[in-house]
């Protein structure tokens, strides 16, 4: 195995750049932003993004795909093979979400970033326990402090989108038509 000091393979050729990106992405354990790849490969971001898109297209017939989210790029198994993949990776942890959990998740999803007390106000009940469960299961995460109340803010995660089969928050079903015509009910 070569060491870091060894001469870096030239990446002027698109095929070489593509392959170098594949090599790096194979060892990541979290999504990688194109910018970070560009830095490591010492190539312009635009060229790296072009390569990533080219790669993603090249996997069309494969059992995996190269996905991009707000957090970056990474490989994932193709959804239709989930039944087989789950036989390997499920740690007995895919239990169904309760109704309370889904409702809480819905409020966080549409109001994020949002404090626990605001979620509780919408649901009319204490949500501390449910929020803890959702956090432990990686469906929501803390996202700083609310400037006015000092309460911890929460937002949904990539795993949440993944679980619903959504590509981004923009794909959430619109809620506006369901809501009463009140500018901000919390102010009442």
């Amino acid at each position: 195995m070569s060491s870091a000091e060894e001469e870096l393979p030239a990446l002027g050729d698109d095929a070489e750049l593509d392959a170098a990106i594949e090599a790096v992405l194979m060892v990541v354990d979290a999504p990688v932003p194109a910018g970070q790849l560009a830095e490591v490969l010492e190539e312009p971001v635009a060229r790296v993004v072009g390569a990533l898109e080219r790669l993603a297209a090249s996997y069309a017939d494969r059992g995996f795909e190269l996905r991009v989210t707000d957090e970056g790029w990474r490989y994932a198994s193709r959804g239709r093979f989930a039944p087989y993949v789950e036989r390997f990776v499920l740690d007995g942890q895919r239990s169904r979400l309760t109704r309370a959990a889904l409702e809480t998740l819905a409020v966080v999803a549409y109001r994020q970033p949002v404090t626990r007390s605001r979620v509780a106000a919408v649901r009319g009940v204490n949500v501390d326990g449910v929020m803890r469960t959702l956090t432990a299961r990686g469906l929501i995460v803390e996202a700083g402090l609310d400037a006015s109340t000092g309460g911890t803010l929460y937002r949904t995660t990539e795993l949440f989108l993944e679980r619903l089969g959504l590509a981004s928050l923009e794909d959430l079903p619109p809620i506006a038509p369901l809501l009463p015509e009140v500018d901000d009910i919390d102010e009442l």
Binding site: V89, G124, G165
Partner: protein, 270 residues
């Protein structure tokens, strides 16, 4: 006519024995009750389900914790206010109270509709979750040959410091310092309220609900007493008088009128 019509129906109606389903909060219960009557979210619907809502809240009292019950009681108080207001001739309502009540009603509607929107979306989430052919991200450990390149790991603490870190993790979080005083709901026990009202009614024979509540310190206690009156009525210990529609509600001590009543709250009654 000596008994207000809505209350008279209550003991005979099978629906009065509210089943203790798992409702995820007061709005959930309210929507479920309204749905059961196949009604839309209107003021009429709120009036129709008030009794059932109160009955459920009363049943909840024994099994749920205080904070959970409080959420139900706050909504119950608003429902009772609304229902009471409809019984009063409009002219007698003070402008300021009237306004406050209208606002309370609008807030309740808004929150109810808002909650319903999230509930509908949550149902949609359930469908999406079921249909999602889930992709699993590649999130693998570093191969050993690469892990070997990492600099030696430094914990940054010694054994004693490590124990401190562990203790900090395991230490129970202090309860959030949110004041609950404004909820005025330290411990309103319906049985206690029944006991108190029983004593007074035995002495006085007949009291208006307003008189029964004269010394109530706050709204939740009024709700507690109202729940108590419902309980006493259900167990045939009191009769309810109302001379005419919208007139004042009076509670008359009348134990054992009909002993087929389901529950006896006070073993000493006679």
């Amino acid at each position: 006519m000596s008994t207000a019509a809505p209350e008279r129906q209550a003991p005979d109606r099978p629906g009065f024995q509210v089943t203790l389903e798992n409702f995820t909060g007061p709005f959930d219960l309210l929507l479920a009750l309204i749905g059961r009557h196949e009604l839309d979210v209107t003021e009429v619907a709120l009036h129709r389900v008030t009794d059932d809502f109160i009955a459920y809240t009363a049943a909840l009292g024994g099994s749920a914790d205080l904070e959970e019950t409080t959420g139900f009681l706050v909504v119950a108080a608003t429902l009772l206010d609304l229902k009471a207001a409809r019984l009063l001739p409009a002219a007698e309502v003070e402008d300021e109270e009237d306004l406050a009540l209208l606002e309370a009603r609008d807030v309740l509607f808004a929150r109810l509709l808002q909650y319903r929107a999230y509930q509908q979306v949550a149902a949609l989430f359930r469908e999406l979750e079921g249909a999602a052919r889930r992709r699993y991200p590649r999130a693998v450990s570093l191969p050993p040959e690469l892990a070997a390149l990492l600099p030696p790991v430094d914990l940054g603490v010694d054994a004693a410091g490590f124990a401190e870190v562990a203790a900090a993790v395991f230490r129970p979080a202090p309860p959030p310092m949110v004041g609950l005083d404004h909820l005025h709901a330290p411990s309103v026990s319906v049985p206690e309220q029944v006991e108190l009202m029983t004593a007074r009614l035995r002495l006085a024979g007949r009291l208006t609900f307003a008189q029964l509540c004269e010394d109530a310190a706050h709204g939740v206690e009024v709700v507690g007493r109202f729940l108590g009156v419902l309980e006493m009525y259900r167990s045939r210990q009191v009769a309810l008088d109302q001379d005419e529609a919208f007139a004042e509600l009076a509670v008359r001590w009348a134990p054992g009128d009909d002993d087929s009543g389901s529950a006896a709250l006070d073993p000493e009654r006679s």
